[in-house]
Symmetry: C2
């Protein structure tokens, strides 16, 4: 179908030289006479030659490729992270093998095998990780082969690094802000019972309430069917239809918060007059919906870029801290203005 690609031998024959010289003009040009070098370049041009990275990697034992797992690209938060990861990877000459895992551990394992076969230099797991024992083991097993970087999740082990933004702190900021602006019945919508971020946030929500001598009302805590706008919409609907009374709502990500807002508005509830809303992630849409949505930012670009940087340094043999922390910030917008 595609004409056979020219190999280094074809170039050598055409130039009347040995393959070693061709290889050198590619990798160590200065070790080659400038005249022969230009001659060879001309031939490579003419034959439309491209080095075969497979062969190169086979001997160099490095592919300059990293595997990147994203929980769910559909969430703009992760899309943004993927973007920054890609940008920094590109700048550091890495290619990205991409996998959207949907937190499906089966799929993830399958992918890891695949990437390992393809000899990736390292793997980044970006996104809310599963808390199961099995999953931790899987990550540790992966780390036996290549360095692994996790974002917003931490597994202790050799060859495993993480960059995490302090989600307990971020949640505390959000909840405290709601309390400080006069709210006391704060609903809490979250996505998954067994994911690290959900657990951390729920715990912090409890603590912040009790620190302020507010009782926890189980009726105000609602698990969404999934951490999407639809999930948030339905969770809020469930809250409403069971007659829960709340004057504020915190959702563990912006998508769910946006979905919940839609439901509130559709139900004739005023934001923030009747219910104040805060989300998490600070995706761009927060600014552009109406009313604009208050949110906790975790500097997604930093998360992504640091993940790549860490991996890059590890691959360069540098000594790297196993865990880096990022500080979250609260962005207050219309949805949580004082009533």
């Amino acid at each position: 179908m595609n004409q056979k690609r020219a190999s280094i031998y074809d170039i050598a024959k055409e130039a009347g030289m040995s393959v070693a010289t061709i290889s050198r003009t590619i990798n160590n040009p200065d070790k080659v006479n400038i005249k022969t070098r230009t001659k060879i370049h001309a031939i490579m041009e003419r034959l439309n030659y491209t080095p075969n990275a497979l062969a190169q990697s086979l001997v160099s034992r490095s592919t300059k490729t990293i595997g990147v797992f994203i929980a769910k690209v559909q969430n703009p938060f992760y899309a943004e992270m993927l973007h920054t990861i890609e940008k920094f990877a590109f700048d550091n000459q890495y290619s990205i093998l991409f996998g959207n895992t949907f937190n499906d551990i089966q799929k993830e394992e399958h992918y890891v095998d695949l990437f390992l076969k393809k000899q990736v230099d390292g793997i980044i797991f970006a996104g809310g990780r599963n808390l199961s024992e099995a999953h931790s083991e899987h990550i540790m097993k992966t780390a036996e082969r290549v360095p692994v970087v996790l974002t917003n999740h931490s597994v202790v082990g050799k060859n495993i690094y993480s960059v995490i933004s302090d989600e307990a702190e971020g949640t505390a900021l959000a909840v405290q802000h709601l309390i400080d602006t006069g709210r006391s019945k704060i609903a809490f919508i979250y996505g998954y019972d067994n994911s690290y971020p959900s657990v951390v946030k729920k715990d912090s929500y409890f603590k912040t309430l009790s620190r302020n001598h507010l009782a926890v009302d189980d009726n105000l805590i609602m698990k969404a069917s999934e951490d999407t706008m639809e999930g948030g919409y339905n969770a809020c609907g469930a809250l409403l239809s069971k007659g829960a009374e709340f004057d504020a709502l915190f959702a563990t990500n912006d998508l769910m918060a946006i979905g919940a807002m839609k439901k509130l508005i559709a139900s004739g509830i005023q934001i923030p007059q009747n219910v104040s809303v805060v989300g998490y992630d600070d995706i761009q849409f927060c600014n552009y919906i109406s009313p604009s949505l208050s949110s906790v930012t975790q500097n997604m670009s930093d998360l992504g870029s640091m993940a790549v940087q860490i991996l890059n340094e590890v691959l360069e043999g540098k000594n790297v801290e196993k865990i880096k922390y990022l500080q979250p910030h609260l962005k207050i917008r219309e949805s949580s203005m004082r009533a």
Copy 2:
């Protein structure tokens, strides 16, 4: 750093067999005695063996890897496409080498070289392509090496396939709908002068107006600085501040439409009472903002999945239509209800 990986030779030695047998138990198990097969499997397990795909691909001349270029993952429309592409690729055993190009032709060329070196089996360009001569040539040159599939853009040439949704038709649907609901001064916001989708949509906008005997008012046509929410916000602001009068607004993608809506709302203009708004792409957010946004859907998942399917069939040597068309549909929501 990482202990040397076991090779097929290590397995062979350990098992007291030749590498051929090992290779066979991996690729043609039935040609191997079941007893030796299980024995070998045990050893592979024990030595934590993974076949090296580089070596395999070097001889098989196929990597089962495709390169995927996305214009901008940050746009949920493309994120969704990436997702479906990934899903279908996964189902067909392909891995994805991912590049976010931002329509930067330099970066794209660099990436294409890289992917070609890595011997991808094919390349998908997803997203609004550049109209320049140089760019078409680049695609054609790429297609000399591997099959290429374009979404929503078409370049005629050997080894180039495209799946395009009829954006002229989609735009006509939107504009006609605005006219049919009593609007006559329809503002038009678009992103780039030299991108295929923009050109097609603008042209269709003109035609639909004139088909309805409506005059084109240059004052109502506004180019955004970029095809984002911010771009739409600012473009709408520019329209407003120069005193343009319009009772409807069509933006060539949802992000810009959402940005424009935000500006309208911030300016005290009622949607749809004063200005009716329609976007393009039908991203999920359309349903969850308030008021919900009417939009033209082009079945992003179909676009993505068909792209992979086409590539897959081409790679399997099947005969495939060079161009497939998809039919767009208009989704009417609150933002363009009759005033």
